[in-house]
């Protein structure tokens, strides 16, 4: 294999690892670290990476080759982050070679098993009702919060799968939660509409992206921090508008 082909394959592998990690919601410094580490373990002395949430660049110092990848989707899938990390470790320990690493990353990108949907919906119900109680809610609201949280998450999941419009899923889920909470309170199935809604939207709110954005900025990744913060603010606004409609019109 010629030297040019080899560095091209290495760049492709590094960028694929980086892209998968950013798409799955990893921190920026870990992405850069992993990419540089793979290059280093493949024998490159120097590599330069530039990562943003919408695109990544990498240059190999010796050959001067540069490649770019665009990143179009940003979700949270922590299992993928863990898998890429584990593969990078195996590569460092030389139990797999570059070709195998490339192949494994490609198959990882295609199919990482998610938890089944029904389990995720039950989990969302548990998040809603337990957090509602520890935030100081009432026990009478326990069951209605669980049901409403689960329904909201189901709407969120379903719309994200069917329609590819950003922030529409958050909006519709929040609207559903607000409407159901209102109905529950009117029918005397619940006591505090505020606590039911807070519990119900907890599986959806991007509190973690907001905190991560602040951390990115503090760590010096200004572009990533601003981009992710903006994304989070739009999600919050979509949720807010969904809830707001309920308060405005009923």
């Amino acid at each position: 294999m010629s030297e040019q082909q080899q560095s091209s394959e290495l760049l492709d592998t590094c960028l694929m690892a980086g892209r998968i990690m950013i798409e799955s919601g990893s921190e920026m410094y870990r992405v850069e670290d992993t990419m540089n580490r793979i290059a280093q373990n493949a024998g490159e002395k120097q590599s330069i990476t530039f990562t943003t949430p919408t695109g990544i660049f990498m240059e190999l110092g010796d050959s001067g080759a540069v490649q770019i990848r665009q990143i179009t989707s940003r979700t949270i899938n922590l299992e993928k982050v863990e898998h890429v990390n584990a593969l990078s470790r195996e590569f460092a320990a030389q139990t797999i070679n570059l070709g195998q690493l490339h192949q494994r990353l490609a198959s990882l990108d295609r199919d990482v098993p998610f938890f089944p949907v029904w389990l995720q919906i039950i989990a969302a119900a548990l998040v809603s009702c337990t957090l509602m109680i520890i935030y100081g809610g009432y026990w009478q609201d326990f069951i209605s919060t669980a049901v409403i949280g689960a329904t909201g998450y189901a709407v969120f999941y379903w719309v994200r799968d069917r329609l590819n419009i950003s922030y529409l899923n958050e909006f519709l889920a929040a609207f559903t939660i607000g409407l159901l909470a209102l109905i529950a309170v009117r029918l005397h199935l619940g006591r505090s509409i505020d606590m039911i809604i807070i519990g119900g939207v907890m599986p959806l709110v991007p509190g973690v992206p907001i905190t991560n954005a602040v951390r990115d900025v503090l760590a010096g990744h200004l572009l990533s921090g601003i981009a992710r913060g903006m994304d989070a603010i739009f999600s919050v606004s979509a949720i807010g508008v969904g809830i707001a409609l309920i308060f405005r019109f009923f």
Partner: protein, 148 residues
């Protein structure tokens, strides 16, 4: 005494369940779920305790985040898993979702002054959590890091 014990147990168990359940929503690897729950429960318990002691909201958030980050680092090194996998679900009880909701609600209903107050509170709490994380990273860096 028994009611106090029950209260503490309730906080611990519910924050554990909430963290594990959120971990399922974000597809945390199976072998990390239990550790996630423990981290989340520890962080929330410290936060709750400090709030009960009437220390406001910023300091408990900061210390809660510090505890979460430290415990996460510990588990990350033990299990050789990226630390973010423990951080993200564990932070869920602490994130200012409730305040953010009150902020939006106040703005929609025309109570702008109140809404801006809540918005500033959200920013301060996010900042406090971020600072708590940074402090834990400082402490963690002083020990030899092994590619965690």
């Amino acid at each position: 005494m028994i009611t106090l014990f029950g209260k503490v147990l309730l906080q611990l168990v519910f924050s554990y369940i909430a963290t594990v359940a959120f971990g399922i929503c974000t597809n945390v690897p199976h072998r990390a779920l239990n550790a996630c729950g423990l981290t989340g429960a520890a962080g929330w318990f410290v936060y709750w305790l400090l709030v009960q002691l009437d220390l406001g909201h910023m300091l408990p958030n900061l210390i809660g985040a510090f505890v979460i980050a430290s415990v996460s680092l510990f588990f990350a090194r033990m299990k050789k898993i990226p630390v973010i996998i423990f951080n993200i679900p564990s932070l869920v009880p602490l994130v200012p979702g409730g305040v953010a909701y009150r902020c939006v609600r106040a703005l929609v209903l025309g109570n702008y002054t109140q809404g801006i107050g809540f918005a500033i509170q959200v920013m301060m709490i996010s900042g406090a959590i971020a600072v708590g994380f940074m402090l834990a990273q400082f402490v963690g860096l002083r020990r030899p890091a092994k590619n965690s």
